[in-house]
Symmetry: C2
Subunit: 275 residues, 2 copies
């Protein structure tokens, strides 16, 4: 397809708009990408693009964005331009970049993440999996997935009460990490933690109170780190099931850290080699 696409048909516009709903994302195995950076990340990861839509302004983009758009139009199932108002109806606040696309993405199963960890282990690397227990704030979850990517985690596992990782706000905060790190949803976390523990994993809950020893680092076995809901923390059943409850020492007065920030402190302390 050339860089001179037609107006997007109503049916194709609808096929984009439906991806703002979780149910449709599950049915289609697709998510919405908003903006240049995510589009680039999807192309680099070799993901299949569905419908691609852009405003006339975005279509006129030169430079790197122009080349990116050309490449994306070549790879998309269908492309077309839409009015800015239409784009805003799909993307909300995020419409300012003028480009949106459907892309193949779906969460994986919990077992897939655990199997992938087994493969890493066989490969001589110590796998680290991050689990989220009931996270509600999309930006927080996206940041957690991005962090897991940065530190080379094997995967992310989310409890059934967690916000959908395919939610466009989560995808935006993930900055393309959705295409690098497998994310499992709907996990019964107490059972996952128990199972991992039986398999010899080091299972750690980030808790407000607990052991310190963060800098000692994990023992030489696979790690499952669980961070909790913004208000309630990690649920009691998961805390019970884990081998260790570990706290980040506090100097100030605020009562808690958010989940992604807490995970950053743990992963940083574990992953960064001694000075």
């Amino acid at each position: 397809m050339s860089k001179n696409p037609p107006p997007l048909s109503k049916a194709r516009l609808a096929s984009l708009r439906r991806l703002t709903r979780r149910k449709s994302r599950v049915e289609d195995g697709r998510i919405l990408l908003e903006g240049w950076h995510l589009l680039e990340a999807a192309l680099e990861a070799g993901r299949a693009l569905g419908v691609l839509a852009m405003t006339p302004q975005a279509l006129a983009a030169g430079g790197a964005n122009g080349r990116l758009l050309e490449k994306a139009l070549d790879r998309a199932e269908a492309g077309g331009w839409i009015e800015e108002a239409e784009l805003s109806r799909i993307c909300g606040e995020a419409a300012d970049q003028g480009v949106v696309a459907a892309v193949d993405w779906a969460p994986v199963g919990v077992r897939q993440v655990l199997r992938r960890a087994g493969a890493a282990l066989a490969d001589g690397r110590t796998p680290v999996v991050v689990a989220g227990d009931g996270l509600q704030e999309p930006g927080n979850l996206g940041t957690l997935i991005r962090l897991a990517d940065w530190f080379g985690c094997t995967g992310v596992v989310l409890s059934s009460g967690t916000v959908d990782p395919g939610n466009p706000k989560v995808v935006r905060a993930g900055m393309g990490s959705h295409f690098h790190v497998p994310v499992a949803v709907g996990a019964a976390l107490p059972e996952v933690v128990e199972q991992a523990r039986r398999l010899g994993w080091w299972t750690v809950v980030a808790a407000g109170e607990g052991e310190c020893g963060l800098r000692a680092g994990p023992p030489d076995r696979p790690v499952l780190l669980v961070v909790g809901n913004e208000a309630r923390g990690v649920s009691p059943a998961v805390r019970e099931a884990a081998e260790v409850r570990m706290a980040i020492p506090r100097w100030g007065r605020v009562e808690s850290l958010n989940a992604a920030v807490a995970a950053a402190v743990f992963l940083g302390a574990w992953r960064i080699p001694g000075g």
Copy 2:
């Protein structure tokens, strides 16, 4: 005032609503608090409350929230109930808790933060100040202030291009840390960094590339850590001015970490005692 307040007058409602604008916050030296947790944090910190408004539902709250509301009504300049629709017009998405208040809060000057660091030093503690260079995302800034509180930082310094820390979304993400950590705004960061460096501070920029040695920790002098804008990172002039540009080692494929998460890795690595 008893726990039986009148309907809020139009004038008082307007005095709340105007605090959604930065200009009015600066004029009034006040910010908007939304929800029970922030209200509690303000009361605990001994802050003066201006107008307090709640929905009839919130007014009927029992238990801890009921007691908190009673205390807040006692302390507020004026209190009254408003319809849920009115509250939503002020708080947007955050209206679900049914309570909003004006509270005394204003940013401090950069010199105040530096002076406070001098006092900490005289007191035998090593002060750490976190600076934000052009952060745009309110949730990200609020999380950074919360993190600075957790790790007992002396203050937060924000460049002139940074989102206003009094923005209700920043306050919400700060979880009450606004009342524990002084925040300076409008800083000419290259000059602040130069000045701190001349005064013998260890000035560090969180950079995509640079020295590692994160675990070695800071030398035994005051620390100024600068984290950058979500897209562009720390500006070239600030990078130049700093003594050290330090990177967090990366294992995965995503290009960057967000500012609060990067700061969490630095502060965690520095503050947490060896295992």
